[in-house]
Amino acid sequence: MYTISNRLKTFSIILIVLGVIGVAYGFMTSHKSLDEVKTMLADEHAHHDGGYETQAHLVAGGENHEDNTHDANAYDATANVDDVQDSAHDNVSDHGNASHDDEHAEHVKEQLAKRPWSAMYVAAFFFMMIALGALAFYAIHIAAQAGWSPLLMRVMEGITAYLLPGAIIVVAIALGSHYIGHNNEIFIWMNEDVVAGDKLIQNKSGYLDITWFIIRAAIFIGGWCTYRYFARKFSIAQDNAEPGDNRNFKKSFRIAAAFLVFYIYTESIMSWDWIMSVDPHWFSTLFGWYVFASMIVSAVTVIAMVTIYLKTKGLLPMVNDSHIHDLAKYMFGFSIFWTYLWFSQFMLIWYANIPEEVVYFVTRIEDYNILFFGMVVLNFLFPMLLLMNSDYKRLPWFVMMSGVLVLVGHYVDVFVMIMPATVGDRWFIGIPEIGSILLFGGLFLLVVFTSLTKAPLTPKHNPFIKESEHFHY
C-alpha cells in the first residue's frame, strides 16, 4: 500500500492556500467602477498615440501603389478602401462623444470583471479534462484487453478520482459566474440582456438554456462517475477474488465498452456546452474531437509523470522502461493527433475565410498571437522532436521534461479556447491565472495521491498482470 508522504500533502496544501490567495486577489482587483475604467483607458490611449502615426504611414504607403497600372476595378477597390477609412476617421473624430466612450468603458469593465472567473474556469477545466482523459484511456485499455498496461491501472484509477470534484467545480464556476456578480458571466448566452438583443443566440436558446445546461451536465458527470465507480469497484473486487475467478474482470470489460460509447457522445456535447458555447456565434464540427485530443494527450502525460514519480520512490517495482516507452509513444502520437485536428480546424476555416467562422481565428491571431502559435510549438514541435528517438522515450527524466512542456502547451490551449470570448484583448497570465492553476493543481495532487493510498498499487489476479510484468519492447 502506498501512503501519501507528508511532504507531498503539505506541498499540495501550500499550493491550495497560495491559489486561494491568488484567486481572491484576482476578484478584489477585477471589479472596477466605470470611472476607474475610463481613467485606465485614457492612460492607455496616451500610450498608444505613438502607434497611430505608424499606421497612418502604412496607409500612405498603400496609396502610393495607385501610381501603378491598375485596371479600373482594382482602382475602384482601393477607392472603396479609402471611403471606409474616411468613415473610420469620422468615427475617430466622434471619439469625444460621451455615449460611445461609455459603451466602450462598459465593455472593458465587463471584460475585467470576467477575468478572475475565466482564469478559474480555464484551470478547473484543464485539471478536470486530465481526469476525464485518464478515464477514457483506462476504459480503452480494458476494452482492448491491453496486455502491457495492467500494472498502470491503479495509477490511472487514482488520477480519475479527481473527475467528480473537478467536473462539479467546472460547472459550479460556469454557473457561479452568472449568478454571482453582475454582467460577468463566462457564457454570454446566460446573460438575459445580451440574449434580448441578439437574434442569433435567441435562435439557439432551445439548446443554450441554463436549465438544459445543468441537466446535460448532470447526465455527463453522472454517467462518467458511475462508470468510474463501478470500474474501480470491480478492479478492487478482482484483487480479492479467488485465483482464476475472472467474473469481475469480465464485468469491467463490458462496462468499459458501454462507457466508451457513452463517452464519445457526451465528450462531444460537453465540449459544445462547456467550451464552444463561450463563443455562441461560432461553431465548428470537429471541435469535440479537438478537445478530446487535448484531453487524452494531457491525461497520458500525467499518467506517465505519476508513474515515473511513484517508480522513483520504488513503489512500482515491476514497471520497467518499456512501460515508460509505451506511454511516451502515446504522448508522441496523441500530440501529433492534436496538431492534426488543430490544423484541420484552422486551415479549413482560414481557407474558406467565411466571415461568420473566421472571426474566431481573427481574434485569436490578433490578440493571442504568441499563445495561439506558441502552443503549436509546445504541443507539436517539441514533442515531435523530443520524443521521436526511441532511446529518449525510455529516459524517465526526459519524458518528465517533455511532459511539462506538453502540459503547459495544453493549458495554453484551453486558455486560448476560453479567454478570447470572455476577456478579449485584456488577457494576461498574471496572479489570477497562476493562482487558479496553483489552487486546482494542489487540489488535483491531493485528491489523486489520496486516492492512490486506497488500494495496492499493483493489481492482483488481473488476467493480464503476468504479461504486463514481463512486458518489454
Binding site: M347, W350, Y351, N353, M388
Partner: protein, 177 residues
C-alpha cells in the same frame, strides 16, 4: 587462405534451440558468419551481437529533405515566379499562404522519407530483381534454421560443440569453387 574458405553449416529445427546455440557458440568465441531463418526470430540480432540498424536515422534525414524540397518548390512557384491572386489567397510571402501548402509539405515529407528509406534498405541488403538468391539450403525458407560458422583449425571439436547444441545436421562446406 584455403582454411578460411571452409565453413560449417549447422541445421536446427526450432528457433529456441537456435537461440541457445547462438549463445553457446558465441561463448565459445567462434565467429558466426550468417544465420538463415524462415521467419524473423525475436531477439536473434541481440543474441548475435549485431549493431542496431540506422535505417530510422536515414528516414528522418530523408524526411527533412522532402520538407525542404516542398518548401523550395512551392515558394518558387507560388510566391516568387508568378505570385498570382488565386481566389484572394495572399501570395505576398510564403508564411502568409503557408496553411495552403501544409498538405503538400506533409505528403512530400512522408513520400521522401518512406521511399528513400526503402531504397536505402534495398541497397544495404543487396536486393534487386533478377538477383541470384543466396540460399545455402532450400529448407531454410520453410522450416529449418541454418547457422554458418567459420571452420577453425580444430573442425572435429567444432562439430562436437554444434551437435551438443541440438543441431540436427552438421556439414563442412568448402565455399571455394
Amino acid at each position: 587462405m584455403e582454411g578460411s574458405s571452409k565453413v560449417i553449416h549447422a541445421m536446427y529445427t526450432d528457433d529456441d534451440v537456435l537461440m541457445a546455440a547462438v549463445k553457446k557458440v558465441r561463448a565459445e568465441r567462434y565467429h558466426i558468419e550468417e544465420i538463415y531463418t524462415p521467419f524473423p526470430v525475436h531477439g536473434l540480432d541481440k543474441a548475435m551481437g549485431l549493431a542496431p540498424t540506422r535505417l530510422a536515422i536515414t528516414a528522418f534525414i530523408y524526411g527533412v529533405l522532402g520538407l525542404v524540397v516542398s518548401i523550395v518548390l512551392m515558394n518558387f512557384i507560388m510566391i516568387e515566379d508568378w505570385p498570382q491572386d488565386i481566389g484572394g489567397k495572399p501570395s505576398f510571402s510564403y508564411i502568409e499562404n503557408m496553411p495552403a501548402f501544409v498538405p503538400i509539405m506533409f505528403e512530400l515529407t512522408v513520400f521522401f522519407s518512406a521511399h528513400l528509406m526503402v531504397i536505402t534498405f534495398y541497397l544495404r541488403s543487396r536486393m534487386w530483381p533478377f538477383k541470384k538468391a543466396e540460399n545455402p539450403d532450400t529448407r531454410t525458407t520453410d522450416d529449418h534454421f541454418l547457422m554458418e560458422i567459420t571452420a577453425g583449425a580444430n573442425v572435429d571439436e567444432q562439430f562436437d560443440i554444434l551437435r551438443n547444441t541440438g543441431a540436427v545436421e552438421v556439414t563442412l562446406i568448402d565455399k571455394a569453387h
